[in-house]
């Protein structure tokens, strides 16, 4: 064959580009679409509970960063991110007056409230595109000493949700010490370690950027 190998090169390169698109770009885009769709349901719970539950965006971001530290593979990280958006969907079936009760819940009400994981999982299980997320929805309040064999991502969600709740109502130090106290009993020790180092890293980064901008100002 004479000359013009460039034409052949272009053809081969474009097929390689197509393959890259099909194997890398597309799965990432599909994941984004799913996440955007599920965001609606996280917002639904957020509206129903007047902002007490269902908040997903900051938690999803933090959870992904911690999962990266733990070396959780991409597929599992994506599954976990979807679970963050869907985790409280079961609260749609919990009576409104219990969800929004201003005073502390009675033990019976707390039991009813605890059923939201099971209800959420049974809703999620019925949906063809999301059945793989259901186990994480069911286990997102998992206790380490009871089920040490649960997926690492579930332990992560359980510990992280508690950390965020305490950090919001009190401060980050209280949340950190609560997590440390529960390590090995309520929370998975490895997960606690990863969450604390991620949070410490962020605080350091925050301080650094603060000093940097202060230096710029001066």
């Amino acid at each position: 064959m004479q000359g013009a190998w460039w034409a052949l090169g272009i053809a081969v390169a474009s097929i390689a580009a197509l393959a890259y698109y099909a194997f890398v770009v597309l799965p990432a885009r599909i994941h984004r679409w799913r996440r955007d769709g599920l965001r609606a349901f996280a917002r639904l719970i957020e509206l129903r509970t007047q902002g007490r539950y269902g908040k997903a965006e900051p938690m999803a971001e933090l959870a992904s960063a911690v999962a990266l530290r733990l070396g959780i593979p991409l597929y599992e990280r994506r599954r976990m991110e979807l679970a963050v958006y869907l985790r409280d969907i079961g609260m749609v079936a919990i009576p409104y007056h219990i969800l929004n009760k201003p005073t502390p819940l009675t033990p019976a009400e707390r039991d009813l409230m605890a059923r939201h994981t099971e209800i959420g999982a049974s809703i999620t299980e019925q949906i063809p595109g999301l059945w793989h997320v259901a186990p994480l929805v069911r286990l997102h309040h998992v206790v380490y000493s009871e089920q040490p064999d649960a997926p690492l991502a579930a332990h992560l969600l359980s510990a992280l949700e508690d950390w965020i709740r305490v950090a919001e109502s009190a401060d980050a130090d209280t949340a950190a010490s609560a997590l440390k106290q529960g390590a090995g009993a309520r929370y998975h020790p490895v997960v606690v370690q990863a969450i604390l180092s991620e949070v410490r890293q962020r605080t350091l980064d925050g301080v650094q950027s603060l000093t940097r901008s202060a230096a710029l100002w001066l």
Partner: protein
């Protein structure tokens, strides 16, 4: 009054169109003559590969809201154009016709398609291939060399002409068959044309080089990377289909899990889509209307179910709460980009043409037609007591179908859009006739 009695029925028009196509295509095939006898082995080899490729057609919707629009990567078309430049147009016209015949018969058998669509497809293929051959035939690729800019140009021209002619013919057929406007079908097909050509050119080019160097055997080597790609696209497409169902069924399940909302959603959404189709909205809009009708009460899942279930008269404060639900529904879907078109319909599905609706009190044309459709269908289903038993208010007896139809007529212009109400009454009557016929049989 114009007399329309001379107009043909839809079926007659389709048959006439397909007949016309077939006669033209048959003439062209005869004119081309059977491929030269010494090329017969090559012809059979290439045809086998092209048929296999056609059966493995890549079909991948690019955006979830338009499942029918997207990449249609037909590798057999690439093979047809490549072989046209090497073996001449007569060869490729027969090749394309044969591919369409065998692939069409298999598809017809598998998917229960009427044979006339296979005939239409064969004729369309043969016609497109001959016109493409006419356009690209002036390039003598064998003389300039297969790996040259001229060959590449001839290839792109051939693909372009083929796709254009094919798009035109297919659009007419689809428009006749589905009863939609030609303009819409044509626009949908032409929009994806540049991208399709961009995707098919490399495969066609490799196919041409392989055919030139090694004949039909070389083609097998080109097909290997294609098959790997196809696998990825198929998986992605399947996931995406699932995904669209995901939001639908999740919305449905969430509304059902909520103690208040009931099972009338399915019927309301089917009726709403039917009405939208009758009103002549574009097909993808109709699909979105279906989706919107399924999700229209999503906002109620946010509310206190004790108010929604209250059997007695509601206090003004409680009414205030209930009136929030359309906007809450819109708020829930705010951050989901691909549902953006349906957000206003959900927010406005309790507006009334006379301005007495909520939340904004819009009038007539200010309300999107889709919201007016959902309003009519939703109200009708509530009248006949189609909602879940716990949703019916005890002091309101469900109306019979006739009473509800009468109410619909009374409310036209005030509570309901007159045009939508008229179309919907027709749809309900047809539904009832259908149901009675089914019960009788």
């Amino acid at each position: 009054m114009p007399n329309y009695s001379h107009r043909m029925s839809k079926r007659q028009r389709i048959c006439l169109w397909i007949g016309l196509l077939s006669v033209l295509a048959a003439g062209l095939l005869l004119l081309a003559g059977m491929p030269l006898l010494d090329l017969l082995t090559t012809f059979v080899g290439i045809a086998t590969i092209a048929i296999a490729a056609e059966l493995l057609l890549i079909r991948y919707p690019l955006r979830p809201e338009y499942p029918d629009r997207g990449i249609w990567l037909s590798v057999s078309t690439s093979v047809v154009i490549a072989s046209m430049l090497i073996y001449g147009w007569q060869f490729s016209v027969w090749l394309d016709a044969l591919t369409a015949l065998v692939a069409g018969l298999v598809t017809a058998h598998l998917r229960n398609v009427h044979p006339r669509w296979v005939v239409a497809n064969i004729a369309q293929s043969a016609l497109s291939a001959s016109v493409a051959g006419l356009a690209a035939g002036s390039f003598n690729v064998l003389q300039t060399g297969v790996l040259s800019a001229t060959a590449l140009g001839a290839l792109v021209l051939g693909l372009l002409v083929y796709m254009l002619v094919n798009a035109g013919l297919v659009s007419v057929t689809v428009a006749l068959a589905e009863g939609v406007r030609l303009r819409w079908v044509l626009a949908q097909t032409l929009l994806s044309l540049p991208r399709d050509i961009l995707l098919m050119t490399p495969i066609a080019f490799l196919a041409m080089a392989a055919l030139h160097a090694y004949g039909a055997v070389g083609l097998l080597g080109v097909l290997a990377p294609y098959l790997a790609l196809r696998q990825a696209f198929v998986l992605a497409a399947r996931q995406q289909e699932l995904y669209h169902q995901t939001i639908r069924s999740l919305g449905f399940l969430v509304q059902r899990a909520h103690p208040y909302t009931g099972g009338h959603l399915q019927r309301v959404s089917l009726w709403a889509r039917r009405v939208a189709e009758r009103l002549g909205l574009p097909p993808d809009r109709c699909e979105l209307v279906y989706e919107a009708a399924l999700l229209h009460d999503l906002g109620k899942t946010v509310l206190d179910e004790r108010i929604l279930n209250k059997p007695d008269r509601l206090t003004p404060e409680e009414w205030e709460e209930i009136r929030k639900h359309p906007q809450l529904g819109a708020e829930i879907l705010r951050d989901t980009p691909f549902l953006a078109p349906i957000i206003p319909w959900i927010a406005l599905h309790h507006e009334r043409p006379d301005g007495a609706g909520y939340p904004f009190g819009l009038k007539g044309e200010q309300i999107p037609i889709e919201a007016r459709v959902i309003a009519v269908v939703d109200a009708f289903d509530a009248m006949i007591g189609g909602e879940a038993p716990n949703q019916r208010r005890p002091h309101k007896r469900p109306l019979s179908l006739d009473e509800a139809l009468a109410e619909l007529e009374q409310g036209a212009g005030k509570q309901f859009d007159p045009q939508v109400a008229a179309v919907f009454r027709q749809v309900v009557r047809e539904w009832r006739t259908h149901r009675e016929a089914k019960a009788g049989a």
